[in-house]
């Protein structure tokens, strides 16, 4: 809240400011704040959307935490998130380092890599359903030439989640590449020139200059990618619907399933609140963890 002058009428300017942000404040409140608060309210009721709501206290939370399926879903979500974050950042960093020059080829490649990030999840998911089809898909077809036995990418319960990780990395890779590139281009050439004078090799340049000065970017990517993967939904809903059995059921899909397959609105809302707390804790934890190790370059 902006602090209002304690004496007299609020300044005209202040009022104008509020008037100007009113539309976005309205939408923020109506479509973001209100649903969150309402979810908290719903989470202590038993409600199927049709019959009257019944207050049941914390039973929804208890049921969730006691259910084996919820445990599986949490495990799947962490695996999916960790897989995507590590691979996307690792591959993204390597690609960014390779593309960190201002040639025409580099720009073209950057554009190519970024296209998949712009395409909608639905299109990407449908595309990969075909690519990964065990009988007619391109992946197994190419694999066959290399002597690989056919793999049931989405139907095998041990592989399906990792197939989704792979597709997600393919889809989002343009994002870490672009952000890393921006980070790399912010590092002053002076450091490298000084290092060259001192006779530093490629690895030393990376280890003692690039990596430390890239940490703000790394932390930013780590947090945003973690949040994004915790919010993953479309890819599961379209490619596997959480199956086989619960092998690819990740958090938001589980919420959706509880709400719109089983009409357990209270339980779904409780899961929403737990998810909210989880992401908050994770983000805060990551922030704390990295705060001490982030190096900001002196600009100027």
């Amino acid at each position: 809240m902006a602090s209002l002058p304690s004496i007299g009428r609020p300044k005209r300017q202040t009022l104008l400011g509020y008037a100007l942000i009113l539309p976005s404040l309205f939408f923020f409140g109506a479509f973001y704040l209100y649903p969150v608060v309402y979810s908290l309210y719903l989470s202590v009721f038993d409600w199927d959307l049709v019959r009257p709501m019944r207050f049941i206290g914390l039973a929804n939370y208890r049921d969730l935490l006691a259910s084996a399926e919820f445990g599986e879903v949490l495990g799947n979500t962490f695996r999916y998130s960790l897989g995507v974050v590590v691979l996307a950042m690792g591959i993204g960093l390597v690609l960014a380092l390779l593309l960190n020059n201002r040639t025409a080829l580099s720009s073209t490649l950057q554009a190519c890599i970024f296209t998949s990030y712009i395409v909608s999840w639905v299109a990407v998911s449908l595309l990969w359903i075909w690519m990964l089809d065990p009988q007619y898909g391109l992946v197994n077809y190419v694999g066959g030439f290399l002597g690989m036995p056919p793999v049931d990418w989405l139907g095998n319960h041990r592989i399906a989640l990792w197939s989704l990780v792979g597709v997600t990395v393919w889809k989002v890779i343009g994002y870490p590449v672009v952000i890393f590139l921006a980070g790399l281009q912010n590092i002053s050439q002076d450091y490298y020139e000084a290092a060259d004078l001192d006779g530093a090799g490629t690895w030393q340049r990376f280890r003692y200059i690039t990596w430390p000065l890239l940490t703000p970017t790394t932390v930013f990517l780590f947090i945003t990618l973690t949040i994004a993967t915790f919010q993953g939904f479309d890819i599961v809903n379209i490619m596997t619907q959480g199956g086989p059995v619960h092998a690819t059921s990740i958090y938001v899909f589980f919420i959706y399933e509880q709400a719109f397959h089983y009409f357990r609105i209270g339980r779904a809302s409780a899961a929403v609140i737990i998810c909210f707390g989880l992401i908050l804790t994770l983000t805060y934890g990551q922030h704390r963890l990295f705060r001490r190790n982030v190096h900001y370059a002196q600009v100027g």
Partner: protein
């Protein structure tokens, strides 16, 4: 001044949005109808709605597509909360006891009486009273059969003939036939003998074929553990031991699509799927296709499926009148015949089935008739509000685990029976 003008503008905009909900009186009387078909059937539905609107000027039906049955069910519930539900929609039988008990549906008895519709004209096994076992309770008619179906067995006649295999009529024969029809190349299977979605509907059929029932005789307890286990074990063995059945991947209707595609592409010689696909499969296969009863264990059996028309209690009297006019029109012989012939759903009107037109059609297209004949072995569903939860939460998501090998059949069925009993007990 500027500030005030801006504030006024903002306020005016808000008021405009609030008032934007249109309120107008329109002639003819219009009713919303939500439907949930994809592909070919959607086209047929849209054509029939158009035909209805063109056939008279008093009523107008606004049809809109709402995703598959389960997606539509979710939207209906959400729409009730926001008071934007349609006057009529169609719904799977398993969801009906729950919806009826919730009090959102209108009894159709007064409409039936007022417009002279004869309930006995509906094919008995397909009507609401034929579908449900009420356990002695009395329930009025609140649902009119619309697209009604049964699962049947489809087979690739060319493949069976080439191997000298007779159409199987028992589980043992099915197993033997599938063994002969499976074609292997090394460890790769080129043709699967048999394929069926690991789905509640087909499992339910096998449960009754094995002589079981879903609930106990009084409808108060789950009673499927042993025979339901036998049914599931049959699939587990065919998939894992004999390796002659393909488990189509995907949940709900995705697995059904895979099954159809494999059959069309001659990757599967025999499949179970709905009679609703007769028209679609006939048009798309490039071989001689036959349909037959699903094989028997102790008896032939199968659930009926598809949907019924229902009406929302909250709709206005005018909307209800328009909605009923459409429902009634759809059930008339001419429409019932055209609907059935263009899709493969079982014709719901007894006079229509007896008509020379339909008899001639059945003679020329015997594949369409099998489901109608199999109706005499159709099993009833319990009229229990718990039914939809038993289907969606207890059976459907857990059938796959033993087939994949994650759990044993015994574990799965014991857990399912316990969960079903908890739901029946209102826990």
């Amino acid at each position: 001044m500027k500030t005030r003008t801006l504030l006024k503008c903002a306020l005016a905009a808000l008021v405009a949005v609030a008032l934007a909900t249109p309120v107008w009186a329109s002639e003819p009387v219009t009713a919303q109808f939500w439907y949930s078909y994809g592909g070919k059937v959607r086209q047929v539905t849209e054509d029939m709605v158009k035909k209805f609107n063109a056939s008279q000027s008093k009523y107008r039906i606004d049809g809109s597509f709402q995703g598959d049955y389960f997606q539509a069910l979710a939207k209906i519930r959400a729409a009730i909360t926001t008071k934007t539900a349609p006057a009529i929609f169609h719904v799977i039988g398993e969801a009906m006891p729950d919806l009826w008990q919730s009090g959102m549906l209108e009894s159709l008895e007064p409409y039936i009486k007022a417009t002279g519709v004869k309930p006995e004209d509906f094919v008995a096994g397909l009507s609401q009273h034929g579908y449900f076992d009420y356990y002695g309770k009395s329930v009025p008619i609140f649902a009119i059969p619309f697209n009604r179906s049964m699962p049947v067995m489809y087979y690739n006649k060319d493949m069976l003939d080439a191997k000298g295999v007779k159409v199987p009529t028992t589980w043992d024969e099915l197993r033997a036939a599938a063994t002969k029809l499976t074609v292997r190349e090394g460890s790769d299977v080129k043709v699967w003998g048999y394929e069926v979605p690991i789905d509640w509907w087909f499992w339910h059929g096998l449960l009754y074929q094995a002589g079981g029932t879903l609930l106990s005789a009084d409808g108060k307890q789950a009673g499927f553990r042993q025979k339901g286990g036998e049914a599931l074990q049959f699939w587990v063995d065919l998939v894992n031991k004999d390796k002659i059945m393909k488990r189509p991947p995907g949940k709900d209707y995705n697995a059904w699509e895979v099954t159809n595609t494999d059959f069309i592409n001659q990757k599967a010689a025999m499949i179970f799927t709905s009679t609703a696909f007769v028209n679609y499969l006939t048009e798309n296969v490039k071989f001689k296709m036959g349909t037959a009863f699903m094989p028997a264990k102790q008896t032939f059996a199968g659930p009926t499926g598809g949907t019924f028309f229902v009406m929302m209690k909250d709709a206005t009297p005018a909307q209800k009148e328009a909605g009923w006019a459409f429902i009634k029109w759809m059930a008339e012989p001419a429409q019932a015949i055209s609907w059935s012939q263009n899709t493969g759903y079982i014709c719901v009107s007894e006079p229509a089935i007896k008509s020379a037109e339909m008899q001639k059609f059945y003679q020329a297209n015997p594949n369409y008739r099998v489901a109608y004949e199999q109706l005499k072995y159709a099993q009833k569903m319990p009229f229990a509000p718990a039914l939809i939860r038993i289907q969606r939460e207890v059976i459907q998501p857990n059938l796959e685990a033993p087939v994949i090998g994650l759990k044993t059949v015994e574990e799965t069925m014991a857990a399912a029976e316990k969960a079903a009993n908890d739901i029946l007990a209102g826990k």
